[in-house]
């Protein structure tokens, strides 16, 4: 795309991408002699200098254990840790900070709900509705619960575009349905599911809903009160924060009823060998010393995103995805997998006659980082009868030039295999 058109697109989305890119030291890397085109953001995104600086400041000036001592550093660390919780609360518009539980990531958050809600409230014959588009982390925990409790899993199918079939969804409910666990955005295809509508449908039948938001939070504004979801899970490292930290949002009335996930320090009010009184939420679910630095780093990432503005990010990524889709679609022999009307940030594709792993290895030589494989979503691959795809996934710091680099790389793959 020529620079004049690019400038117009940038203006229309309100994003100065060149300036934002300079916030990310890792994006200056060269790989195999080529500029790095980092298109694997759905797997993990990069951290801006502001987040890195915040981590350094915490470790050099504020670190101690939290909720423990009366000394200066413990007070400072506690204030920063709890401050980040409030920042995250505002970002997703949770009603209260105590509805925001720190976890190790999305997987840990889903497992927390499986243990604290599922094991406590579900029994033999109870049913859970999942979708065809789930990541393994929103399938396997429920299978473990099914096998332990004798529950039944029901799956919402999708059409050839990768869109969930809402009529089929409605037909899956019955008097034994106890939970819906569904992804907001598919990590393998990029489909944005109509979760607000799906949540309303579930609530009309008195069924609570857990949303896997790992692929949504970095790309679109999420308002948990507007969605009215009962649980919402996401990861720090996919939204420009550190690894090892994630969030479970839960409505307070559920969290209060739920059983603790793990036992240990910080989740108790009092302990004797006869009896332990659990702490109130959110602490009831945060046993042991948490990843304090990572939580504070996530708070800094949220501040960074808030300053840019999620609507600007969504608008830029929409332009990027539209351009990438047009360019990749125009290549003969390349098939885009996942063509939903409403998509975010993910372009999964196959190249005729070339295995995705060969595509990935050759693109890497051009400095283009994509993910290849089943994307921890084997049921999605089974639905489309393919073993794997190559997946380019975008963040707001990606550019049209990087899309061109990807397209040139795919052309080269085709030449080599011709």
């Amino acid at each position: 795309m020529n620079s004049a058109v690019l400038a117009t697109v940038e203006r229309s989305t309100g994003l100065d991408v060149a300036r934002l890119r300079s916030d990310f030291p890792i994006l200056r890397l060269k790989v195999n002699g080529n500029p790095l085109a980092y298109l694997d953001n759905a797997a993990s995104s990069q951290m801006p200098q502001r987040v890195l600086d915040r981590l350094i400041r915490y470790q050099t000036q504020e670190h101690s254990n939290i909720h423990r001592a009366v000394h200066y550093l413990s007070e400072t660390a506690t204030a920063a840790y709890e401050g980040a919780r409030s920042t995250i609360q505002r970002f997703i518009n949770a009603r209260e900070a105590r509805e925001v539980i720190y976890t190790r990531g999305t997987t840990d958050a889903v497992n927390l709900v499986m243990q604290g809600f599922g094991r406590a409230f579900l029994g033999r014959g109870d049913e859970i509705i999942l979708s065809q588009l789930e990541h393994h982390s929103n399938i396997v925990p429920w299978q473990m619960l099914r096998d332990e409790k004798g529950c039944t899993l029901r799956v919402v199918p999708c059409n050839d575009a990768g869109e969930l079939l809402l009529d089929e969804y409605a037909a899956l409910f019955n008097e034994r349905t106890r939970l819906v666990a569904v992804t907001h955005v598919s990590n393998a295809l990029g489909t944005v599911n109509p979760i607000k509508q799906m949540i309303a449908q579930a609530h009309a039948r008195g069924v609570p809903v857990l949303v896997d938001g790992a692929q949504a939070v970095p790309h679109l504004a999420v308002d948990v009160q507007d969605l009215d979801c009962d649980f919402y899970c996401f990861s720090g490292h996919k939204m420009f924060g550190p690894t090892g930290i994630g969030i479970l949002y839960g409505k307070a009335h559920w969290l209060e009823k739920m059983q603790p996930y793990q036992g240990g320090g910080d989740m108790i009010l009092s302990v004797s060998f006869e009896r332990t009184v659990y702490n109130s939420i959110p602490h009831k679910f945060e046993a042991g010393t948490p990843p304090i630095a990572a939580a504070i780093g996530l708070g800094a990432a949220v501040d960074y995103l808030t300053d840019i503005g999620m609507p600007h990010i969504a608008a830029w990524e929409h332009e990027l995805l539209t351009y990438a889709t047009e360019q990749v679609e125009a290549l003969p022999g390349v098939r885009i997998v996942g063509t939903a009307q409403d998509k975010a940030s993910v372009l999964s594709f196959t190249v005729a006659g070339v295995h995705p792993h060969d595509v990935g290895t050759l693109l890497n030589e051009d400095g283009v980082a994509v993910r290849t494989g089943h994307h921890c979503a084997q049921p999605v691959m089974q639905r489309f009868a393919i073993p794997a795809t190559a997946r380019a996934s975008f963040a707001f710091y990606n550019t049209f030039q990087e899309v061109d680099q990807l397209v040139a790389g795919i052309r080269r793959v085709q030449e080599i295999f011709s």
């Binding site: 393994h136 060969d358 494989g373 080599i416």
Partner: protein, 163 residues
């Protein structure tokens, strides 16, 4: 590493026109090889008479590295004694994992040295080795082999999946 070193003409040719492709009705040994992480899935069948590999065939679905490795393997071990082939399995594995440098150390690898570069691409080592795992499993009448976990006959450490 420059992956052009890996995707050489000979590799691309064997990928496009795999030798000994198909199954054997009169096989005496068979094994299935699976790399669950990337979906490479092949079957190797052998007809062995008095320790001699009279016939060998393979089929399946895999990436170019795996398919070319399997094709060149079958061409190479056909007509050899099992023990010679087993030595080759060991040498190929040592080369792919960087423990044998065919440029400086003697080996029977011949043209198979085109796969030497895979040692610099850790995520692709298993693609190249899978056919050889499967051949090894067939000799020992193990029905299925995998590049992962307990079923990995060559003891490579398992990789893990991620989002």
């Amino acid at each position: 590493m420059d992956s052009k070193q890996l995707y050489q003409e000979v590799v691309l040719d064997h990928n496009k026109k795999p030798r000994n492709w198909g199954s054997l009705a009169d096989a005496t040994h068979r094994a299935e090889g699976l790399n669950p992480l990337c979906g490479d899935h092949i079957w190797v069948a052998l007809k062995v008479q008095d320790g001699l590999i009279e016939k060998i065939a393979f089929e399946g679905e895999s990436c170019a590295i795996c398919k070319a490795s399997a094709s060149m393997m079958t061409a190479n071990v056909k007509g050899k004694q099992i023990e010679q082939a087993e030595r080759l399995v060991q040498e190929f594995r040592d080369m792919a994992t960087g423990r044998l440098n065919p440029a400086t150390q003697p080996s029977q690898l011949g043209r198979l040295v085109v796969f030497a570069g895979v040692k610099d691409l850790p995520s692709r080592v298993k693609c190249a080795i899978l056919p050889w795992h499967t051949l090894h499993a067939a000799f020992h009448d193990r029905g299925t082999t995998s590049t992962e976990g307990d079923a990995d006959p060559m003891g490579l450490s398992p990789a893990s999946e991620s989002a």
